[in-house]
Amino acid sequence: MEQRNSRFCLFFMLSLFIIFLSVFLVSCGPNAQNKEQVKSIKVWHWMSDRENAFLELAKRYEKETGVRVNFELYAPSDTYTQKVRAAAQTNTLPDIFGILGEKRDFASFVKSGYVYDLTEEINKDQGSWKNKLFAKALGVNEFEQGNSFEVKPGIYGISIDVTNIQMLYNKDLLQAVGVDNPPKTWRELVEVNKKLKAKGIQGLVSGWGETWMIDCFASNYAFNIMGKDKVLDTIRGKVSYADPEWVEVFDLFREMRDEGMLASGVVTMVNKTAEQLFANNRAAFAFNGSWCVNVYKGMNPDLNYGAMLPPKVSDRYPMTIWGGAGSSFMVNTKSKETQLAVDFLKWMTDTPQQVFLSKETQGLPSNKDSLRDIPMVLSQFASAMDNTTHPNVWGVSESPLVIETFDKGIQSIIIGEKTPEQLAREVQKVKEREMAKKTVN
C-alpha cells in the first residue's frame, strides 16, 4: 500500500513538473499571431488619450491598403518607458514605437541598433516627404554631424504632431481687473499680478510638481536673459551656473514668490490639477503646452482665453520657448516589416490624416499643409513655432543630476528655503562633480 502511494506521489510530481515545463516552454515560444496570413504591423505608444483617433486611422489604412495596424497604447508614461526598454533588451520591440525620455536615451536606442535610419526614405523623390513636414518637427528626431552623442548623422523618427509651451491668459479675469491686453514684459506681468492679488485672483498656475515644467520655464528666461550660446556653454561646462545671469534667472522665481504671483500649491501640483484650476477660472495665467487646447475644451468649453509668449525680462535676446515635435514614432530596425512600417508613417503624416488627427485631438499637425480650420488659440500656438527650441536639438545635454538639482532647487526657492545665490552655487557644485566623473570614466 505504502509503495503504491509512493508511486502515485512520484507520478503526480512528475506530471506536475511536465505541466510546469510545458507551460513555461509554450509561453516562451513564438506567438500564434505570427502565423496569420494578413499583413500587419504593431505600434506601441503612450498617447492613450488619442486611442479613438488612432483606431479610426488604422481602420482606414486597412481599408486602403489591406495592412492591419494594431495600436497598443500604454499609460502612465513611466510604465511605458520601462516597457520599451525591457522590450529592447529582449528583442521584442514592435514594428513602430515611441521613445519617452531625453535625447541621450534616444541616442542610446539608436546606437544600440534598435531604431531604423529614416534619412534615405525622407530624402527620397527630392525630399517630397521631408518638405511636407515642419523643420522643427524633424529637428527633434535628427542627429547632426558631430553630435556629442556620437550617433551617425541622420533622421531617426517622425513626429505626427508639433507642440510648444507658452503662457495662457484668462481674458475674463484680466478684464475684471481692467487689463485689456496681456502683459508683454516681466514688469507688466508683475503689475498685472498686483491688481489680480488685490482682487483675490490667483496669478500663474502650472504643474511645477512635474519638475520638467519648471525646467522649461527657467530655460525660456535663461535664453531671454543670456542668449542661447551662453546657455549651451553652461551645459558644456564653459560658463558657471553661479554666473550673475543665472542668478538673475533664479531670482525671477524668488520675485514670483515674494510678489505672490504663483497659485497656491504650485510646487507639488501636477499639470492636470493646474489645467483644472485654469479651466475653472481659478487662476489668471497658466504655463502649458499646446495640448491644453483639447484639455480645456473638455473641461470648460466656454473658457475665454488666449495664448501669449512668456513676458520677456530683457530685450537683449528674443524670448525662446520649448517646442518642436510632439509625439514621435520610430521604426524598429529588427522588424520584419520595416517597409510596411515606413509606408504607414508616410501615410500618417499625409495631409488628409493630419487634418483628421488635428481635428480629433485639437493638436498642431506636423504637416505644414494641414494648418487649416484650426481654432484661434491653436493658431496662436502655431504662430509661435518660429520661436521654439528644445533640449533635444541643442546637440549637448545636461547631466540628469544637475537637472534634478536645478529643478528641485527652484522648488526650494519658491517655498522660501533657498536663495537664488545659494541655488546657483549648489547647481555649479553638482555640475563640477558630474564633470569630474565624466573625466574619470
Binding site: M13, R104, A263, G265, T268, L401
Partner: protein
Amino acid sequence: MTKSAEAIFMRLLRGVYTEPFAAAQDKLRECARNDVKNLVMKTKTILQNYLFVLPAVLIFSIFYIYPFYKVFTLSLCQWDGIARFDFAKNFIGLRNFIELFQDKIWWSAMLQAGYITLIALTFQNALALMLALACDRDIKGGNIYRVIFYLPPVLSEVVVGLVWKWIYDGNYGLLNYWLASIGLSNLVTDWLSNPNTALTCVTIIHCWKGFGWGFIIFLAGLQTIPRQLYEAAKVDGASSWQMFKSVTLPLMAPVFILVSILTVLGTMQVFVLILSMTGGGPGYHTEVPVTRILASMVRSSRFGYACSQGIMFGAVLLAVSFVQIRLSKYMKQA
C-alpha cells in the same frame, strides 16, 4: 556494511564463530544483497524527495535568486538600461556604492522613511491595538466595526492618495474649508506644498491606511488568549490594567513582534502614496528610498546606481529586521 554482517565478520576474525564456514559465507552474501537493496531504496527516496522540492526550487531560482544575482551584477556596473549589457564594458566596481554613501539626498530620504516608520510603529500600532482591544470585547455591532476598520487597507493606494490630496489642497481642499468654517483660519495652509507639513500629512494618511492590518492581526492574537486566564485573574482581584499588563502583554509578545516587523518593512517601502500626493516634493521633503530608486532608474537612466540603491536599501531593512528579532528574543527571555 550492515551491523549484522559486521558482527559475523568480527566473530569469524576472533575465531568464535561456531557455525560452518559456508553458512557464514551465505549470511554475508545475504547481508551484502540487503545492503545493495537498502542503498537503492535510500537513493530512490532521496531522489523522490528532491523531485518534490524541484518545482519550488525552480520557481525560487527563476523569480528570486536569478533576479537578485542580476541586480547585484548591475549594481557593479554603469548602464542606462537601453544599450546592450556587456558586463566587462560596463563594470565599474564599487563606484556606485561609494557614490551612494556620499549621496546626501539618499540618506535624507532614508531618514524621512524612518520618520514615517517611527510614527507608524508607535501611533499607528497603538491605535490598531486599542481598536483591537475594544473589538475583542463583546460589544454590539462588533463585526461592523471590524469591517469599517479594515476598509482603508483594501482601498487602492493611488485612489487614497488622490482623495486625500484633494482634501489637503490649498485652493479648494476640504480641510482648509473646515478649518475656516470653525474659526481656525490662521491654520489654513498649503498642507502638501509646505515643507513643514508635507511629510507629516503623508505620514498621517499612511497610518490611516495601514492601521487596519495591525488591527486584524492584533485582534486574531487577542482571540487566541484563553478566557480562563482573565477569569482566574479576576478571581485573584486583578484590575483591568493588571490583567492587560500581566496576561495580555506577555501572551501577545509574538504578535507585537510580527506586527512591528511588518510595519517596518511595509512603511520603509512606502511610495505609491507619496507619488500620488506630492511626487517627492516640495524640494526633497517627501522623498523616500523607493522614489529615489525610481528617479535613478526612470528619470536619470542610471540602472546600475538604482540597483546599488536597491541593494543598500535591502541590506538596511534586513539589518533592522534582525535587530528587531534579536530584541524580541531578549525581551521574551526577560
